[in-house]
Amino acid sequence: MFAGRLVATVLGLLALNSAVAAQTKDTLVAALAAEGTVLDPARYSAGVDQYFIGQMFEQLVRFDPDLKPVNWLAESWKIEGTSDKPIIDVQIRKGVKFHNGDPLTSADFEFSYERLKDPKISRWTHLQANVEKFEIIDDHHFKLHFKAPDGDYIVGSLQLWAMPKKYYEKAGEDGFAKAPIGTGPWKFVSRSIKEDLKLEAFEDYWNKDARPKIKNLVLKIIPEDLTRVAAFKSGAVDWVDAVPLSAVEEIKKMPGVKTFTAMAPNNMYIDFPAYKSDSPFSKLKVRQAVAHAVDVDAIIKNVLFGQGERYTQVGRGSTGYDPTLKPYAYDMRKAKQLLTEAGYPNGFETPCYNLITPREPNVKEMGEAVFAYLGTVGIRCKVQGLEYSAWINLGRRGRSGPPEMDGVLMWMWGHGLPGDPATSWGGMLHSFVQGKGFGSYSYTNDEKADSMVEELKGTMDPEKRVGLIQKIARYKHENVLGGVPTYRPVVTLAWRDSIDFRAWPSPGSWRAFQEVSFKK
């Protein structure tokens, strides 16, 4: 009797506790599947870090929710100088403050540039390699002088982050790591690794039109899919990212819940050693057979629960997207015929390397399905599964150690949103050139493709880039070079309909809490 009462009392208290927590509505609790590491834009290394950094720090240019480029901390910018030694001239916005009240000036961007090019600090020094010097004209005007044209600089939202020079010099490296400040809409409050990041809205935020209208934001880390969904269903969290593929339909049907599904910044494709003259894949007809052999739509529907989007070289919304370029149709008979014409009437056996990683959902199963389809036309796979680290290590060209992978490879290449293929193509389409940074993961060797990719890298004019990307995409598609594109993963976010949330694509792949409020 006593035990029964005790249990009832304890559970009653617990329920009361939850109810009280639920009533406090100046705080938005969001659950994220992945956790970033450092909260420093010069020190971060992975895309997931931007989910967190992007709430506090800002760049010169960004993309709005409609994937249109907008000047952000840059009031305006233009390219001047000569075609072989261009200059990017930037006017920065006046009235922008850091979280400690210091005004944003050109010196803060110079400081950012210095940190980003320092190999002891940054993992992104190669992105600053073509910058010759940083010239401050005045507090709100600076110029970046290039020793060679660099298209990647344009792709990466002018690469630089606003970092507080004065504060950093006062707080030091450790002080900045413990209490980072930026110009973004959210101020750092506290962080507990593996647990959460607590933020507070920045009252003096410069952008009065697009800003959060909630006092506090707590980003909880819940890596396990079912637990994250359970936390959302139970009301413990208001907002959740990366809804598991199998739960998307259920969550979409939940009353009082809103969802948003959009493309993740990743491209999945099937590659093969086309560069090896003794490989069957050096023959165009064999590559075309691969492209016809796999029913990508069926795989997306059945393996990915419909949560993927097929693409042809460049995904929808990305720079240079060409809707007239259609994927190869699934046609088993044609694939077999192409193999026969290529001299393989009975098919052939090949190693097939599958990727095992939680980086994108159901990647392993996707690979297994692809290999099964290849088997139906006679390309018989000897499958070997590789964990992400081994995969990325073995895939890299030109290193010493175990031999390179010499069969069918399941690959992916990530880029920001909305995405520009230039960096990916420099790495996986351009042939491998030791020490030049081209073709680090390329299994292709085609002179025409090489020259076009190099031209794209040296083109900084955004409009010219679009035309060039479309030209490369068509050539790549027709010659099945740099692999066969399969799908772009999509990500689904969900939140209670008592919240107004507008997803901004970057930084943070739709997780930027730029515009969020509780409905009145």
């Binding site: 659950a31 396990e224 359970a230 413990a236 680290s389 990325i392 020490g435 680090s440």
Partner: protein
């Protein structure tokens, strides 16, 4: 006693040194962290420079001795991913794991002791059968599954307890059950067989014949003696919970050491893996050492 202590300490030191070598070799064999630390488009020169900076271009034996020498001074290096001292990260996450393991261990004893004693007292009855089923279920069902079912029932369905996190006492209940249920079967069996042996002994029969109340006989005289074998394995089980909490920590988003170390393994963050595994090994060895020591105190016939 001093000799026992010294011998135990020497054994512990050898075990920890062995563990350090195994951790080092296995972590180095598992892959290269540098490719994971840099973006895919980074040139080979950046990879080589980072390897040099981290000392990963040196021969393995040299890396091991540097690691060992620094570890003796408490310096496990900077975490490659978190860019903070690896040992500081481990000590930051360790209390959460100790808290969870203690709660889980307490839960396992609270369940196993009455089950074991009642199963022995009512040997062959329905109580004995139910006790066995409860205990065996814990061992037969994987802890992640138990965790997910607990979340679905108590967090989503009844909404009595939180599904994740470590903000208060109520947060530890579900993970402690998920983690603590597994050893219940073994603990129950040990208590049950110990109790059966003691309940058949002459002094208990004597107690019964002189009219000592059954409750007193069972809990005061029989249970105390039946507890000795349990003490022996308590250290092992507690240490296993410390080192094996990873799955439960992941399911409940518990910010403990297990999750930190396993994620470090996947990102090849050697300093964190080395610091985390070595600290856990020390706790494992230490808890066994203390149990051995206490056992030899409880029963003077036993020597280390």
């Amino acid at each position: 006693m001093k000799a026992i202590f010294a011998k135990g300490l020497l054994n512990a030191a050898i075990s920890i040194l062995g563990a350090s070598l195994i951790i080092f070799v296995i972590s180095r064999l598992s892959g290269d962290p540098v490719s994971l630390m840099l973006p895919m488009e980074a040139p080979q020169s950046a990879i080589d420079a980072l390897k040099q900076e981290l000392g990963l271009d040196r021969p393995l034996w040299e890396q091991y001795f540097i690691f060992l020498w620094k570890a003796l001074q408490g310096d496990f290096g900077q975490s490659y991913r978190w860019q903070m001292p690896a040992l500081a990260l481990v000590f930051e996450r360790l209390p959460a794991t100790i808290y969870l393991a203690t709660a889980a261990f307490a839960f396992s004893l609270v369940l196993a002791i009455p089950l074991g004693v009642l199963s022995a007292v009512y040997r062959g009855s329905w109580i004995d059968q139910i006790g066995r089923i409860i205990a065996m279920l814990g061992q037969a069902v994987p802890s992640f599954w138990v965790g997910l079912i607990l979340i679905l029932v108590f967090a989503v369905g009844l909404q009595w307890l939180p599904a994740f996190g470590a903000d208060g006492v109520q947060h530890v209940i579900l993970p402690a059950i998920a983690l603590g249920w597994y050893p219940v079967a073994a603990q129950t069996r040990i208590i049950r067989s110990g109790m059966l042996e003691v309940l058949d002994s002459d002094y208990i029969r004597m107690g019964r014949s002189v009219g000592t109340p059954e409750r007193l006989l069972v809990w005061k005289y029989a249970f105390r003696n039946a507890l000795l074998p349990l003490v022996t394995i308590m250290g092992v089980y507690f240490a296993s919970m410390l080192s094996g909490a990873f799955v439960v920590e992941t399911v409940f988003a518990w910010p403990g050491l297990g999750r930190t170390v396993v994620e470090a393994v996947f990102s090849r963050d050697y300093p964190v893996v080395q610091a985390g595994v070595l600290v856990t090994s020390i706790l494992f060895v230490l808890s066994n050492f203390l149990v051995d020591l206490s056992y030899s105190i409880i029963d003077p016939r036993i020597r280390l």
